[in-house]
């Protein structure tokens, strides 16, 4: 197997550490066109990488391919020098954590019990929790800022609290790489900031490599070290936030007119208006050209790409 040299600006990768995907082609069953068509990504070790792009651009698909959740039709994913499917499933889960966008929270178990489930990859078949497991759980609860909730029933928490608890569960997995799929999307501003603070703390204090799909361009610009912008399954731009989050990229990738300015709190993107393609390639967004998108999506055969 060939190792790709790090193609990011930091260039500090040792080849035996970290996550990268080469020439990835990802298809969904039943879909003709690949959702991701031959892209390569090297995730900078110890940094926060944000994946941004419009709905259906393939952000989540790329994330799931990097986590070996969707086996790519072509291409390889390398984790710490191993192709990802040669690692056993538990071995993989000890090195790489993935938190999905939506999680089903069962009622009737305490926050601490839910977070304890994150130790599953570290446990043997008949094992119960060891002291090391308990310490990792306590640590995860603290880093996610939910230690005060640990005795509460998860079913009784607010949406924002639940998300923090799920993040704590992923932290209890104690992995070097953590992939998060839109962790802030349904949260109120307070919990969005809490989540982004946790991500920063993971990078700064725990040396964790984080890849996060973000819907909010401002969050990506402000918190990420590295931004990858996708459109229609292709990586359109990548690099430091200042190089990627520009007026031009926003216009091509998101079809929006926006201003980008630098404030005392970092970069700020203000979307001004939605652009509509003149040549008709963007039917979905062209007003009046079709029935409402909800109905088109319902009877269209292919699942949405995310």
């Amino acid at each position: 197997m060939t190792r790709q040299p790090a193609n990011d600006a930091t260039g500090t990768d040792t080849p035996d550490r970290g996550l990268s995907g080469t020439d990835l082609v990802v298809r969904y069953p039943g879909g003709d066109d690949p959702v991701i068509d031959g892209e390569s990504v090297t995730v900078p070790v110890g940094d926060v990488t944000a994946l941004i792009g419009p709905n259906g651009s393939g952000k989540s698909t790329l994330l799931n391919a990097l986590a070996n959740k969707h086996s790519p039709a072509d291409g390889t994913v390398l984790l710490d020098g191993h192709t990802i499917d040669e690692l056993g499933s538990k071995e993989l889960a000890r090195r790489l954590g993935l938190l999905s966008q939506e999680n089903v929270t069962p009622g009737g178990i305490s926050v601490r019990e839910l977070v304890e489930r994150g130790r599953y990859p570290h446990q043997g078949f008949f094992d119960s929790l060891t002291d090391a497991d308990r310490a990792a759980v306590t640590d995860a609860l603290r880093v996610a800022g939910v230690d005060h909730l640990s005795g509460r029933d998860v079913g009784s928490l607010s949406g924002g609290q639940k998300q923090l608890v799920w993040i704590a569960m992923a932290l209890a997995q104690d992995t070097d790489v953590l992939l998060l799929d839109e962790p802030t999307t349904f949260l109120d501003p307070h919990h969005q900031l809490e989540v982004m603070d946790i991500i920063q703390a993971l990078r700064d204090d725990h040396d964790t490599t984080v890849v996060v799909v973000l819907h909010d361009i401002n969050q990506a610009a402000r918190y990420a070290d590295h931004v990858i912008a996708l459109k229609d399954g292709t990586i359109h731009a990548r690099g430091q936030p200042a190089d990627v989050v520009t007026k031009e990229t926003l216009r091509t990738v998101f079809d929006i007119e926006a201003t980008v300015s630098t404030t005392s709190h970092g970069m700020q993107v203000v979307p001004i208006e939605a652009l509509h393609d003149e040549d008709g390639t963007d039917h979905e967004h062209a007003p009046g050209s079709r029935t409402p998108t909800r109905e088109t999506a319902a009877d269209g055969g292919t699942p949405p790409a995310e």
Binding site: P29, A67, K69, G88, S89, K90, E91, L92, A93, R94, G97, L98, L99, S100, N103, V104, P106, G107, G108, I109, S110, R112, E113, L114, R117, G118, Y120, P121, Q123, F125, F126, D127, S128, G151, R152, D153, G155, S156, M169, A170, Q173
Partner: protein, 359 residues
Amino acid sequence: MTANTDASATRRLATLAAGSLLVVLAATLLQVSFGAYPIPIADAWHTVFDPEIWSSAGVWRTFLLGGQLPEWLSRRQVVVWNIRLPRILVGTLVGANLAVSGAIFQIVTRNELASPYILGVSNGAGMVVLLTLTLFSGLLPVMPLLAALGGAVAFLIVYAIAWKNGTNPVRLVLAGVVVSTVFGSVQRALFFFIDNLGVVMSAQTWLSGSLLGTDWAQVRIALPFTVLSLALAFLVTNELDVLLLGEETAESLGMPVEKVRFGVAGIAILSTAAAIAVAGLIGFVGLIVPHMVRNIVGNDTRDLLAGCVVLGPALLVGADVGARLALDPVQLPVGIITGLVGGPYFLYLMRRTENLGDI
């Protein structure tokens, strides 16, 4: 909602266990005392805890391995120990099996309304029973085992139908409906080939689920499979805990979801088959007991299964008191009583909870 700490869950589990034990004890004394050969409660108590029997290796060998009872037993001892107690013991085993397998199926399908019979097991077993009664009466002596086997085969067919690059809870439940419908129709059609009312009655008794006439032979059939399947169930509580979080999370945590799901469903089927083989198709126990236990001790699988092991027997043995004694001398199948208790309990839950169904 109250705080759900581990300590309070353990306390509630202990209360549940104590309550269940009391119910089983009370039901035992009633069952032992009443019947065609009445025994005063005090004498029943003494006979049940008779050290002469508890310490006799010969008697236990007969109970557990079969053979002739020793001559020295009094008539009362025979009635209590050879007729009335084994029925309670079978009820205990069946109740524990149905409750635990119901709990496992509710986790596997992530549906609180799942029962041990959700994946076609009951209709598979039922069809085999009717086939045996109508076409293959030579196989009557091994009918219980054939029925359990029929249930297991139906489960495998359900899995084969549901499989398409893997499976998921909804596909499994739908495949269960498919198989149940077809086998159920065949089963009902077979009734028209029976011209003997006694055979119809025994088929109905079996399909309703009954402990009538169970003795040590049934204990000997059910006990090893019960011990095995319950031991396995408690070994996989970590897996069940993670499975409860949904397939995506389970996969992210490194679980081979398909293998584990098939494995734990197999354990539950073993448990169900042990119950079916000795008592027929007793309904509702496997549905409501896990439900009640979850409301009391929460969703931690170890606590849940432990609660099921104590409450299942309490419910079934308690219901069997009604089945045997309520309309004396007519004995009802216990499955009818559990249905009569289970229906109103669900009505109560429906009124009380808003989102019944999701775990």
